[in-house]
Amino acid sequence: MTLRSRSRRLAFAALTAVFTAGVAACSYNPNTIFGAHSDLGHATDRLTYRLLYFGIGVGVFVWGLLIYAIFRFRARPKSPVPKQIHGNTAIEITWTLIPAAILAILAVPTVRTIFQTQAPAPANSLQVEVIGHQWWWEFRYPQYNVVTANELYLPVGRPVNFTLKSADVIHSFWIPQLAGAKRDVVTNHTNYLWFTPESTFAWNGFCAEYCGDSHANMHFKVFTQPQAEFDAWIAHQKTGPAFPANPSDTTNAPAAPAAQPATATVALTSQQLTVAPSAQQLTAAAAAGPATGIYPASNIPDYVIPNTPPPAGLTFSDVKGDPARGLKLFRSGPCLACHTIQGVSPGVIGPNLTHVGSRYTIAGAMYPNDIKHLELWIKNAPLMKPGVIMPAFGKSPNLPGGMTDQQIADIAAYLSSLK
């Protein structure tokens, strides 16, 4: 008897704990699907809340009856003899009809929202082609002839229409706090997703469909900006690489040297903003500012800058790289087979690196973009990211002909100079 009542009290305590903890967990929720900052997000929200409220209502009702019945009808010495009832048609019809009615209340807005959100995108939309790769994202802006990877820039207030394609297996394109909804990226299919971003900020994006070894590492980042800054970003992206592709080519001046303080307004109310301490030191921070349209580091919250620890055992000697030597190595080495740098190399297997120095992250937004991580990445990508196609280039017992740390440091220095 005591065992029973003690365990029962324990159960309630535990349930309460679960709920409290759940609510506590909710207070810090940078990727929540609720309150996504777009028209699509609001449409999704309205529906989800309705579902949630009715769901909680039904749940509380059923649990209420259950718990009441458990206490009320427990066998006691004096409990009445149960009536041998076999059913009651009126009651049974009632509890068929009431759920049916609730479902009707849920179905009508469901269908309305389906047709509303899957209507063709407005004609003035910004077109962005998203191509999922194992395990990184390629973004193309066909209207501007700009190609980039893993970091997506969008203007606020203008509808953006994503055309989703896959280069290999199925992925899923998801920016929880910006769109709420996701859309699968299906091989041999073209899918669409459109919405209008409402706030300027930095957002997390994920691949949501299991796509192989590094599915967990297939992230991307989204930066929403005022139209003017977005235009600056596009203009900057259209220029060639910052570092002279051809030393005699003087039209490609190095990008804006100093970071300007952020001017973009952060239209966020619900998020408390903690800037990642490391964000300021990232190579992109140097390029940020209105001239380049690069999103200012000071406005990037900690949860957007990846903090993946590099694999244990992968080390790099303390050498300083030289970008010029790096360029030479890049041109003569294996890199160009896979990567495009405008005017330097044509490869299309890996991400476009033309402005890689102006990105905050590398490797499918898995690591922060700084010299250290770049070096480790080039040295041994497969160790850094399970299953990745890019081979290890660093010299090692397995790869005696590999590059020395100095050579890798040179290439890394070159790449981070590509603002």
Binding site: L3, A25, T44, T48, G55, S79, E92, N307
Partner: protein, 631 residues
């Protein structure tokens, strides 16, 4: 007490449960096959659970390093496959094997040898899939193995070979079982056991067999395509040939959704047996309970694409599948309310079985409600492939199927073994499970809504997921401990449990009329059934309420015989001859598939095929029972 036990042992001897390993390898007795299923499925449940514990340990905090990405992917794939195909399905098979003939008053199933074949195929298939672990090549494409990730181009090596071949083998077992049990339930009912007098568990089994018979062919086809793609170079899922990856998805989920009802209906049936017994009241709305089973099953074939809302099927398909999915909440709701209606006004006795049954009512409802949330496509686009889905399906699978099965195991353990499980340990198990389960899976609602994708081997700090994952992992450990308590209780009670007598719970249905464990021929004389509740027949409400729930069997408990149960020979009942042929046939089949895996070795495949066909001939050309004079 001592004499009682002795009597029971003698009774046990009559059942023929004694005998060495050979008697188990050759058995065609549905009760023994049921036990084989039970032990095997519990073992696989432990393996699947162990995989889950490793998963949870890896996810305890950000950037877990317990296992590598590749191993993690194998772990969740094998966890899903093991739990669904090797733990829950065979555990339901264990119970329906043991119970259906007893509940309908039959001597055995329609095709006893086919029944043995089903079991052996399942066992070998299960071992086969798990061989992947030994070769460091367990399946790693997720339990639904989406193409093109599962094709040779993106999944080289043996991993997904084990998946296609293993599932193919396991599927055959379910198909064979389904024809067997449909025929059994239609045709082997005792006189007077009309369809509408059958216990609800038998009904659930019956409906389940149709789901199996009609949905497994579809996945067989889907997997055959993948198998031919991987081994023989066909182009069903090959990107370059213009294949459509949605073909796999449609075929898989056309099977997959009926499959999830295959996992839950038997538990619904078990709960429908347990709740009336311990409420001392007949099931509320029996006919509606039966019709709702059929409705759930039928509708279950029209909702599959709700797993595919994100693939871009277009607004019409999204709307149709959204609405058909919502409709299923109605017949399921009716079941929930009818169970509450049964409890209402009853005299509840909280045995462990009853606790688990009521646990299902509450916990399945939570899972069902999140299911309805998924059924609204625009909202599901936010939920799908996140931990919110993981929360949903563990509430229905663990909170539903497993809770129901635990209820069934505690309830029928005395019928199977003649002894009761320890109730105190049972309560510990229940509360551990109940608390652990909620602590594990409830926070997943939050991590899911907070944007945590599923199937990730690591996550970063500062994403707002850490607290929820801490809780989930702690909960999983509690669950694991509770499960160990159960296993201990289960194993120990077989010999140390209190002797139960034929009807320890005062239950109403036919299976409780016979000795525990039942003799190998089940019924000395086929019973003549005159109502839904034979054991409560002619009793007043007072008498039913006064039926004791037995914790200890005393001589003279109504219905119990102290005399040794006579043997089949004494009664002149012809019994099916034990035979090794089903096992050989199953082995042949497995050998053939091993040949396929071993570099498409034609000799091995032919050898396996010949063994299979030979055993089949040997089996089909000999009668089930020894020829009796005069035939």
């Amino acid at each position: 007490m001592a004499t009682t036990a002795a009597t029971l042992t003698r009774a046990g001897a009559a059942t023929g449960y004694k005998g060495g390993v050979w008697s188990w390898l050759t058995t065609v007795d549905h009760k023994r096959i049921g036990q084989l299923y039970l032990y095997t499925s519990l073992a696989f449940f432990l393996i699947g659970g162990l995989e889950a514990e490793i998963i949870r340990t890896q996810l305890y905090g950000p950037n877990g390093t317990i296992v590598s990405a590749q191993t993690y992917n194998e772990l969740f794939t094998m966890h899903g496959l093991t739990m669904i195909f090797l733990a829950i399905m065979p555990m339901t098979a264990a119970l329906w094997n043991f119970l259906v003939p007893l509940q309908i008053g039959a001597r055995d199933v329609a095709f006893p040898r086919l029944n043995a074949f089903s079991y052996w195929v399942f066992l070998l298939g299960g071992l086969f899939i798990n061989t992947g672990w030994l070769l460091h090549a367990a399946p790693n494409g997720g339990w639904f193995g989406y193409a093109p990730l599962s094709t040779r181009a993106y999944s080289p090596g043996l991993h997904m070979d084990f998946y296609v071949v293993g599932l193919q083998i396991v599927g055959l077992s379910s198909l064979a079982a389904s024809f067997n049990f449909i025929a059994t339930i239609i045709n082997m009912r005792a006189p007077g056991m009309h369809m509408m007098r059958m216990p609800v568990f038998t009904w659930a089994t019956f409906v389940n067999q149709f789901l199996m018979a009609l949905s497994f062919p579809i996945v067989t086809v889907a997997i055959t395509f993948l198998l031919f793609d991987r081994f023989f170079g066909t182009t069903f899922y090959e990107n370059a040939a213009g294949a459509d990856p949605l073909l796999w998805q449609h075929l898989f989920w056309l099977f997959g959704h009926p499959e999830v009802y295959i996992l839950i209906l038997p538990s619904f049936g078990l709960v429908s047996e347990v709740i009336p017994t311990f409420s001392r009241k007949p099931l509320f709305g029996y006919p509606v309970m039966v019709y709702s089973l059929m409705l759930i099953a039928t509708l279950g074939f029209g909702v599959w694409a709700h797993h595919m809302f994100a693939v871009g099927m277009g607004p019409i398909a999204d709307s149709v599948f959204g609405i058909t999915t919502m409709l299923i909440a109605i017949p399921t709701g009716v079941k929930i309310f009818n169970w509450l209606g049964t409890v209402w006004g009853g005299q509840l006795r909280f045995t462990t079985a009853m606790l688990f049954a009521l646990g299902l009512v509450g916990l399945f409802t939570i899972g069902g409600i999140s299911g309805v949330m998924h059924s609204s496509p625009p909202s599901d686009l936010a939920q799908t492939d996140s931990y919110f889905i993981v929360a949903h399906f563990h509430y229905v699978l663990f909170g539903g199927s497993m809770m129901g099965l635990f209820a069934g195991i505690y309830y029928y353990f005395p019928k199977i073994t003649g002894r009761l499980m320890n109730e105190a340990l049972g309560k510990v198990h229940f509360w551990g499970t109940f608390i652990g389960m909620n602590l594990t899976f409830f926070p997943m609602h939050f991590s899911g809504l907070d944007g945590m994708p599923r199937r990730i081997y690591r996550y970063e700090a500062y994403q707002g997921w850490t607290t929820a994952n801490h809780l989930s992992t702690i909960g999983a450990y509690i669950l694991g401990l509770a499960t160990l308590v159960f296993i201990y209780n289960f194993l120990r009670s077989r010999s140390a449990g209190k002797v139960s007598g034929p009807n320890p719970w005062g239950a109403p249905t036919l299976e409780w009329s016979m000795p525990s464990p039942p003799p190998d021929y089940n019924f000395a004389k086929l019973p003549h059934v005159t109502s839904r509740y034979p054991m409560w027949e002619g009793k007043s409400a007072e008498q039913i309420a006064a039926e004791p729930v037995v914790k200890r069997w005393e001589p003279g408990t109504p219905g119990a015989t102290e005399d040794p149960v006579p043997t089949a020979e004494q009664l002149g009942i012809p019994m099916p001859t034990p035979t090794i042929k089903p096992l050989i046939a199953a082995l042949g089949l497995t050998v053939a598939f091993i040949g396929l895996m071993a570099g498409k070795s034609l000799p091995i495949m032919i050898l396996g095929g010949l063994i299979f066909v030979g055993a089949l001939y040997g089996w089909l050309l000999t009668p089930v029972e020894p020829e009796v004079e005069g035939h």
